[in-house]
Amino acid sequence: MRWRKVWVVATTEFNNAVRTKAFLVSLLLLPLIMFGSAFLQVFLAKRVDTTPRAFAVVDHSGQLYDVIATAADAHNRAAVGPDGKPNQPQFLPQRIDPSDAPARQAVGGRVKAGELFAVIEIPVEVNDPSTSGEPAAIRYYSDNPNDDTLANWLGAVVNNTVRGQRLKAAGIDPAEAARLSAPVGMENMSLAATGTADSATDDSAGNVPGLGQARAVDPVRTVAIPAVLMFVVFMVVMTTTPQLLNSVIEEKMSKISEVLLGSITPFELMMGKLFGNVAIALLLAGLYVGAGYGVASYLGYASAVPPHLLAATALFIVMAVFLFGSMYLAVGSACSELKDAQSLMMPVMLLSMLPLFCWLAVIKAPTSPLSVGLSLFPPATPYLMLLRMAAQPPAPLWQVGLSLVLTTLAVLFCVWAAAKIFRTGLLMQGKAPTFVELAKWVVAK
């Protein structure tokens, strides 16, 4: 390989990408969209729909309607903000006599017509704590099954009342029962570093020996930082590698490919593009991580991002760009038009989006067989192994090492196969090949 030519291609790719307005815009826009959407969700979650909820109660037990009506009254009085406007929906119960068959039959239609928000039906035996099987359930009918504000409130009211009545029937003071059944809190602690001299002796507070220096778990360290690092890799890979597909298709459509091939081999061209893309990706990641590190330092979390994690982030970005970049280059070279590329690039897209579907499961149980398996799967390694390295407990060294070996092998295979496709595809015009044809190009001599 003539490295000088690779260098020329790489620097040109880099300059072409970085010197555009689009790059600057995407640099600023992407975090804006990500944080903006997070902010929007929080904002929307706080916006409560205060439409009054009229609902009908068919109380077969005959004991609960009054309780519900009283509780609704109290709720409605409390649900008014300082400005006199309701800050929560008003609950407006209506009694339906269970023996009034026409009214009972009409009630469903009233819900459908929107006159009522819901109907609940309370069974006779609601107060009877059955000894075997499921206790009788309240039935809640609504046209808005996903809006659970009213359902939750009703459930709580009925349950509190029924529990009180049952305790009373059993001769237990409800206040005493509540005191006795107060839950014990649980503080989530992380383990202190083992092996320090103090940890074995410091049990003055009656703590388990060796755990004296434990700190309370900080979700910023255990969830936010690993997630941010992983999403930096994700964002960077998603913004840079698909550009390779565009660049190859542009060269094919504008008939530049053959001009280039008069000066450079397909493999050199491909490597130049990949290296250029790595540089763009690292620049982006450097800017994002740098800014993030600044924020972290400001908030006192600088120590939560140790240098080895930053190095791992960089290494995984390089690997991911080579892995996905070579796939995009292969797809791009095989197609003559952008629309032909759409179907061929779907699998690559899905592979590179894999972490989005499973990162939550991995961070909740980083040592579970699923998490270990996923983080060793090469296309997911750059995201999920990084996540595991940053999470608690960190991935064992041998797993990190194994994942690096596997991913390196995958990168070598992808670059090799892509080079074969690239070589054939670059001068090919016309119909896009199928996956079977692509496989034939790969195994061709």
Binding site: E250, S254, I256, E258, V259, L260, L261, G262
Partner: protein, 305 residues
């Protein structure tokens, strides 16, 4: 030493034999014209010389070296289907093409404005490529081919689609290159250009070499078997003349292939019409090309005559 030597080179695509056992020598410093109908194997041959395609059989040497890839940097190549990066400026594009050929950046900084000046494009140096007209873009492409001072340039259809003024500018540039010692190989469909410019002409047809030599060598093979005739009555009066085997109408004059005595034909013609021009000539390259590439056409005219 030859700039290019091909020995028994064959290239097939599936069932189709694109180039068939082709042998060819192109001496250094010559201006060599490749002619041949569409699909005859011209571009495939050029691509093999450029190491873009590899031959199935045979041997290719460029500047005496059978590793054609290592010779790539010494050759400027303008493919038939060519393009430019639309969003790059002319300067950055030429810098890229030059550096890919191994030119030194410092030399390029001086050569780019000089070449653009010669082509009348100085004002466009920092403009984006998509603002150029088609002719301008084609000249920029040519500069991209020669900017790294190659020892040989291979130009696939360099003049196609150019207006006469731009075509002249480019032809002058090609001739200057040849005068400076650069070997020039170009393919063309314009037989007039090949006749006027080339030292030697090579014709390929259905993958095989059918002509190779200087223009007069080639014409000598066909002898003086052609008459150029201009009369009052055009093509009509030529039919049925004794010894005439083929008539080709060129509009204002007709070209006639004949056997036997031209004087007899002239006598017969004068009896039919007023003759303004009567010339015994060698066949033109165009004529030779058509005789080789479309023999069936001759048969039909022959039958008509």
């Amino acid at each position: 030493m030859d700039a290019i030597a091909l020995d028994g080179v064959t290239k097939t695509f599936g069932e189709h034999v694109a180039v068939d056992a082709l042998s060819l020598r192109i001496p250094r410093g010559t201006l060599y014209g490749f002619i041949g109908p569409n699909g005859s194997g011209k571009s495939t041959t050029l691509r093999m010389i450029m190491h873009i395609l590899l031959p199935d059989e045979g041997r290719i040497e460029v500047f005496g070296d059978s590793d054609t890839r290592s010779a790539q940097d010494r050759i400027g190549y303008l493919p038939e289907e060519r393009g430019l990066y639309k969003k790059m400026t002319v300067r950055r594009l030429l810098r890229y093409y030059g550096q890919l050929k191994g030119a030194e950046p410092a030399a390029l900084e001086a050569d780019i404005p000089r070449w653009l000046g010669e082509m009348g494009l100085s004002d466009w140096i920092d403009k984006k490529v998509d603002t150029l007209s088609k002719g301008m873009a084609q000249k920029v492409q040519f500069i991209g081919t020669v900017i790294a001072k190659p020892e040989m340039v291979i130009l696939d259809e360099p003049f196609s689609g150019l207006d006469p003024v731009n075509a002249e500018v480019l032809k002058d540039a090609v001739l200057k290159l040849r005068d400076a010692g650069t070997t020039v190989v170009f393919s063309t469909h314009d037989m007039g250009v090949a006749e006027r410019m080339c030292d030697r002409i090579f014709m390929i047809h259905k993958g095989k070499k059918v002509l190779d030599g200087t223009l007069s060598e080639i014409q000598a093979r066909y002898g003086e078997d052609t008459l150029r005739i201009r009369t009052d009555d055009g093509i009509g009066v030529l039919r049925g003349l004794p010894g005439v085997t083929d008539i080709r109408d060129q509009g204002n004059h007709q070209e006639v292939r004949f056997q036997g005595d031209p004087q007899a034909i002239l006598h017969a013609l004068i009896e039919r019409t007023a003759v303004h021009h009567f010339e015994v000539a060698r066949p033109s390259l165009h004529d030779i090309f058509v005789r080789i590439a479309a023999p069936e056409r001759e048969v039909s005219i022959h039958a008509m005559a």
